[in-house]
Symmetry: C2
């Protein structure tokens, strides 16, 4: 124990308050967003973000551990788009075909946005620090995917897919769908055949096999 109350007055310059830090982060995110909207992914560089945010490149690293963690907040918007589409799909489809329709929507979403897909999944700078669940926590992916999760549960009730842990079923579906997107987008030279065919075949196989 350093002290009983542990409120031994600190000695040097105080760090930014949480609010200050959050505000600073928001400034930077806004700058990045502007840059992204104007010039696309390739236009978002740490140097340009810093310039637009009115600070030095190094200063960004006081608030974000790296570029990836900064871009995360932009990716959140793209996921929001995906979720919105899934929601629409959920509402407009019949229960029996709902899961398949949503899965196809999921894959199509990425196939139509190969650049976004690459930027989100394919950019891994260095061996990421362990335990800092930055990605999922900060963008609330899990919660957003709840509509998908619900479709899984309902499909189970309808007997479209088997019983068992719905989280596991959902994960299997997501892995499979991302696999299709990954392969078609990053290895376009391989003779995958008609994208529609492999997309449909994969989704149906997964649903039939679950």
């Amino acid at each position: 124990m350093t002290s009983t109350t542990s409120k031994t007055t600190r000695r040097g310059r105080p760090p930014r308050s949480l609010k200050q830090a959050a505000d600073g982060r928001q400034m930077i995110i806004d700058a990045a967003r502007t840059l992204f909207a104007d010039e696309g992914y390739h236009g978002v560089s740490m140097r340009k973000v810093a310039t637009l945010a009115g600070c030095s490149p190094g200063a960004l690293y006081k608030l974000f551990p790296g570029k990836r963690q900064l871009l995360l907040h932009i990716w959140g918007e793209i996921f929001a788009e995906l979720i919105a589409l899934l929601q629409q799909c959920y509402e407009r489809s019949e229960p029996a075909e709902r899961l398949e329709a949503m899965c196809l929507t999921f894959v199509d979403f990425w196939l139509l946005r190969p650049d976004d897909y690459r930027a989100i999944f394919l950019i891994q700078d260095q061996p990421q620090a362990e335990g800092d669940s930055y990605f999922v926590d900060s963008s609330g992916i899990q919660q957003s995917l709840q509509v998908f999760r619900q479709a899984v549960v309902e499909a189970q009730k309808l007997g479209v897919i088997g019983e068992g842990d719905p989280d596991e079923k959902q994960n299997v579906l997501m892995c499979g769908m991302q696999g299709v997107a990954l392969n078609l987008i990053t290895i376009p030279e391989y003779p995958w055949g008609d994208p529609e065919v492999i997309k449909l075949a994969t989704v149906r196989a997964l649903i039939a096999g679950l």
Copy 2:
């Protein structure tokens, strides 16, 4: 027509002969291989390769359009390892479980080599030129995967998976397996649960649903 015989004597310095170019490429590849063996992926930089090969960084771009196309030749060796494992797996397993065993081997291979996986699939510098099927052609992936293809065909004969285009079945399986690897490797923060569980669940779902 510029000329009937079209063998109008060329005017300037002649370009490297095909053999010269191939030899030059081999020098560079060997340098890259050495660097890779000594220092891993992060040790392979165009500058260091050039130094080791005894030329300037710019010279590399006369023989390779970019780093990715240079690394391709190293990746070929990694694939060879994978193919060897698949071959072993084929020989050691019973026909009825062969396909599942090989699929699991496939996924495990990447899960045990996340750095290799990232280096091969996740590094996409710029929008790739269209039509230059560099990846598949140069490393002969398709031909190497024949043992897998054979397992698919045999599984069809045994009724383990359904009938239909075996290429399509193979593609679906590969997409699914890569999907598992991709997700577990690049989004480790997400609660995928036990890797073994999702791996097995995905492979079995695919096989059961095909």
